[in-house]
C-alpha cells in the first residue's frame, strides 16, 4: 500500500469504511509523519495527539460495531488556529492569546466533530490572518515542504504545509484575500474557497467580516468537496450564513467537460512569471483537450481589485483589533501592527465608497458568466518566494510580495464567488504552481467538475515533497 499519510482523504475514507485500515492506524501514521517533519516545517501551534489517539480508538470501535457515520468518520484533520475549539487553546497566531481557551466550538469544528473527524491539532498561521506570506515571529515562521527556505504562503500557512507533506488528511483555512488558495498553490495542493456564506464563520476570529470565507485545503478536489459538504449548511449563529445544497459528488463520474466554456480574463495574465505563464498555457491546452471551449474575456475593473479590497479589509481589521491596538500595540507582530495602524488612514467615506463600488465590480465580473461557465487564471503570478522577502522579481521588474501574492485572489473575495486552486506543474526549481478556477455564486459543482477533470488528466496529485 502507498504511504497512508499521502493518499487522498477520499481513498482513506473508503479504506476505513471497508475496514481495510482502522482510524487508529491512520492516526498513528500521521503521528509518525508529524514527528519526522514538524521540526522542519513548524506547521502546528498546538498538537492534540494524545486526544486524537484516544478518539481514534473510540471511533474504531464505533465503526467495528456497525456505526459508520460517513466519509469523514475516522479522518484526521487539523484546523487553522483561528477556529475556536472548546477546551483547546486558540491563539489566532498571536502570543497575545497564548492562554486563550474557548468554552465552545466554532460551528465548523463542531460539524467536523459530528461527522467523526479526528482533530490532530491547531495550525500555525500569519498572526490574525493579516498577511499572505505565512510569517510569524511569535510562533516561528512556517516553511514550505518543497523548499524549507521558501514561504508557505498565508495566511493559512500551516494548513498548506501540513496537507502537502502528509501531516493530516485535510486542513481548514480562512480566505479574506486568498489565504486558503495562496498557501495551497505555493505548497502544491488543492484549496477551495466556496461561496460567501456557505460555510459558517461563527467562532472564527475575523480579519474582515465582509470578505472572510472559511475553506478546506486538501490533496485532491474530491477531498475538498467532502470537507465543504461536511461543514456547510445554514447556521443561525452567523448572520451571513446561507442555506445551500450539498455539492453532488457525481462530478467524479466523468472527465469529459465538453459543453463547458472556460473564460480566460486577459487582465489576469499580465505581469506573470514566464515559467508560470507556460504552466498556465499548458493547463489551458489540457482543458481544451478535455472538451472545454476556451474563450478570451476582459475584466477592466480588475485594476481596482487591490484598492477596493484594501479600503474594506483594512478598516474592518483595524476596527476588530482596536482594543489591543490601543492597549498593547507593542505585543502585536510589527508587520501586522503597521497594517492595523495604516487602516486608521482610510476614511469612513472611502470605506463606504469601496462597499458601493463593490456592487459595480460584482456586476462586471458576473457579466462575464453570461458567456462562460468558469474563469481560469494562475492562482499566483509567481512561485514561492524566500521567507522574509519584501519584494519579488517578475521578469526583471520588482513588486511588493504581499501585493503580488493577493493580486489574483482578491476578485473572488470581493464578489464572494467560489474559487479553487489545483496544482498545475512545477518550476525549474521544483516549486509548485497553481491553476485557479472560479465560478458563479453557489456553482461549486461546475468549479469542482472542471478542477477534477483537470486533476485526473495530469499527474500532479501523485507528486509529493520529499523532506
Amino acid at each position: 500500500m502507498n504511504d497512508l499519510t499521502l493518499i487522498s482523504l477520499f481513498e482513506q475514507s473508503e479504506l476505513i469504511r471497508d475496514k481495510a485500515i482502522s482510524p487508529t492506524e491512520l492516526v498513528d501514521a500521521y503521528i509518525g509523519k508529524i514527528s519526522e517533519t514538524e521540526d522542519t516545517l513548524n506547521s502546528f501551534i498546538t498538537l492534540t495527539l494524545d486526544e486524537a489517539r484516544s478518539r481514534s480508538i473510540q471511533i474504531t470501535n464505533q465503526i467495528n460495531t456497525g456505526n459508520y457515520l460517513g466519509p469523514l468518520h475516522g479522518i484526521p484533520v487539523a484546523l487553522k488556529d483561528l477556529f475556536d475549539t472548546a477546551g483547546i487553546k486558540t491563539t489566532s497566531g498571536s502570543k497575545i492569546y497564548d492562554d486563550r481557551i474557548p468554552n465552545a466550538d466554532s460551528t465548523v469544528a463542531s460539524r467536523l466533530n459530528s461527522a467523526g473527524a479526528i482533530l490532530l491539532g491547531k495550525l500555525n498561521m500569519h498572526p490574525f490572518a493579516y498577511g499572505p506570506t505565512g510569517e510569524n515571529e511569535d510562533y516561528g515562521h512556517m516553511h514550505n515542504p518543497w523548499n524549507p527556505n521558501k514561504l508557505t504562503g498565508g495566511s493559512s500557512g500551516g494548513s498548506g504545509s501540513s496537507v502537502s507533506v502528509g501531516q493530516c488528511s485535510a486542513a481548514l483555512g480562512s480566505d479574506t484575500g486568498g489565504s486558503v488558495r495562496i498557501p495551497a498553490a505555493l505548497c502544491g495542493i488543492v484549496g477551495f474557497k466556496p461561496t460567501y456564506g456557505k460555510i459558517s464563520k461563527y467562532g472564527v476570529t475575523p480579519l474582515s467580516w465582509s470578505l472572510d470565507h472559511p475553506g478546506p485545503l486538501t490533496r485532491t478536489v474530491e477531498d475538498s468537496v467532502l470537507m465543504i459538504n461536511a461543514m456547510s449548511g445554514y447556521d443561525s449563529k452567523d448572520p451571513c450564513s446561507i442555506e445551500t445544497n450539498q455539492i453532488p459528488m457525481d462530478f467524479m463520474t466523468s472527465t469529459d467537460i465538453s459543453g463547458i466554456t472556460v473564460g480566460i480574463p486577459q487582465e489576469f495574465l499580465e505581469n506573470i512569471d514566464d515559467e508560470m505563464s507556460k504552466l498556465i498555457q499548458n493547463a489551458i491546452s489540457v482543458l481544451k483537450d478535455l472538451g472545454a471551449e476556451i474563450k478570451t474575456v476582459n475584466f477592466p475593473m480588475h485594476q481596482y481589485s487591490e484598492s477596493i479590497s484594501n479600503c474594506i479589509l483594512m478598516p474592518e481589521a483595524t476596527s476588530y483589533h482596536r482594543s489591543i491596538l490601543r492597549d498593547i500595540p507593542e505585543q502585536i507582530y510589527e508587520p501586522v501592527r503597521l497594517r492595523l495602524h495604516a487602516g486608521m488612514f482610510i476614511s469612513a467615506e472611502q470605506y463606504v465608497m469601496a462597499q458601493r463600488l463593490r456592487r459595480l465590480y460584482f456586476e462586471q465580473l458576473s457579466s462575464l458568466f453570461d458567456g462562460v461557465d468558469v474563469l481560469v487564471s494562475p492562482t499566483e503570478p509567481i512561485f514561492a518566494p524566500d521567507i522574509l522577502s519584501d519584494s519579488v522579481d517578475i521578469n526583471g521588474k520588482s513588486w511588493n510580495t504581499s501585493s503580488v501574492l493577493t493580486r489574483l485572489n482578491r476578485p473572488y473575495n470581493i464578489t464572494g464567488m467560489p474559487a479553487i486552486t489545483v496544482p498545475c506543474g512545477y518550476s525549474s526549481d521544483s516549486l509548485p504552481g497553481g491553476l485557479q478556477i472560479a465560478g458563479k455564486l453557489f456553482d461549486e459543482y461546475t468549479v469542482a467538475k472542471v478542477a477534477y477533470a483537470y486533476q485526473e488528466a495530469c499527474e500532479w496529485k501523485t507528486m509529493h515533497p520529499s523532506i
Binding site: C311, R339, Q350, L360
Partner: protein, 60 residues
C-alpha cells in the same frame, strides 16, 4: 500624499505611540494605503446599481 501635520494629527487622535522609527515606517505605509484608496476617486458612481442609488445625494 498626507502632509506631515495631517499624519501626526491622525496618529495623535488614534493614540499611536510616538516612536520616531516606527512612525517613519508607518508614514510610508499610510501613504501607500492612501494612494491605493485614491484610485477609487476615478468613479463617479453614475452607473451604480439602482439598489444603491436610493438617497444618493451626490446626484443632486
Amino acid at each position: 500624499m498626507l502632509s506631515k501635520e495631517e499624519f501626526i494629527d491622525i496618529c495623535r487622535r488614534n493614540n499611536i505611540p510616538e516612536d520616531p522609527e516606527y512612525l517613519t515606517i508607518l508614514e510610508r505605509h499610510a501613504n501607500v494605503t492612501i494612494e491605493s484608496a485614491k484610485l477609487l476617486d476615478d468613479f463617479r458612481l453614475e452607473q451604480e446599481s439602482p439598489a444603491f442609488l436610493y438617497r444618493d445625494f451626490d446626484k443632486g
